[in-house]
């Protein structure tokens, strides 16, 4: 069965410092991978996605993620964190046929705290 692991429940980063959030997935076929961000009281906003091709993908708000098949990972990075990045970040894998219904299987999330 498909699964996603986000090993860090909380991460605290100083404003201006770099960030890396870890995500490992388990999926038998070619994964469709996503990162979503959830600010307090808000819905889920798509940050970026990987379907195929270049393994380094760029997203909104200056985020990027790198797909590493050999490590079954899709880590999220940002070179310089802003206080407004404080939120919960969810990694997800699209499970299902590529042209099918693709339910999302989510990890447990990582809460990012940004210190001054």
């Amino acid at each position: 069965a498909q699964s996603v692991t986000q090993p860090d429940i909380h991460i605290t980063v100083s404003e201006g410092a770099s960030l890396e959030l870890r995500c490992n997935y388990s999926y038998g076929a070619t994964p469709y991978l996503f990162w979503y961000v959830q600010s307090p009281g808000q819905g889920l906003q798509l940050l970026l996605k990987y379907f195929s091709g270049d393994t380094l993908v760029q997203g909104i708000k200056g985020f990027e993620a790198e797909f590493k098949r050999s490590q079954s990972s899709f880590n999220l990075r940002k070179p310089s964190v802003h206080w407004s990045d404080a939120a919960e970040y969810f990694c997800a894998v699209g499970a299902g046929t590529p042209f099918g219904f693709q339910k999302l299987v989510f990890g447990t999330g990582t809460r990012l705290l940004v210190s001054p």
Binding site: G43, F101, K103, L104
Partner: protein, 112 residues
């Protein structure tokens, strides 16, 4: 920019009552989903809907749950007889021909 909307933002109901959560997906999208997030837990898939029928449902989505697209714009989730454990944030999502799912802001359901 088109977005998914959900109403109400917060619903309080008594155990055993029926609730209907409403969603307006992005207008040209074809695939519709409901997910839920119990406080402090991960987001879980409930059901997907395409071409006016359920395409997949999870173990959570038992006979107490139903979905409907009553007209060309709304997508609803009905819980017939709510239980305390149904208290959660319910998210609607939709997608078009690409693989990205766009989520609404959620409805917080509180069952007392």
């Amino acid at each position: 920019e088109p977005e998914v909307t959900q109403t109400p933002s917060h619903q309080v109901t008594q155990m055993g009552q029926e609730v209907i959560l409403r969603c307006v997906p992005i207008s040209n999208h074809l695939y519709f989903y409901w997910y839920r997030q119990i406080l402090g837990q991960k987001v879980e898939f409930l059901v997907s809907f395409y071409n006016n029928e359920i395409s997949e449902k999870s173990e959570i989505f038992d006979d107490q749950f139903s979905v409907e697209r009553p007209d060309g714009s709304n997508f609803t989730l009905k819980i017939r007889s709510t239980k305390l454990e149904d208290s959660a944030m319910y998210f609607c999502a939709s997608r078009g021909q690409s693989y990205e799912q766009y989520f609404g802001p959620g409805t917080r359901l509180t069952v007392t």
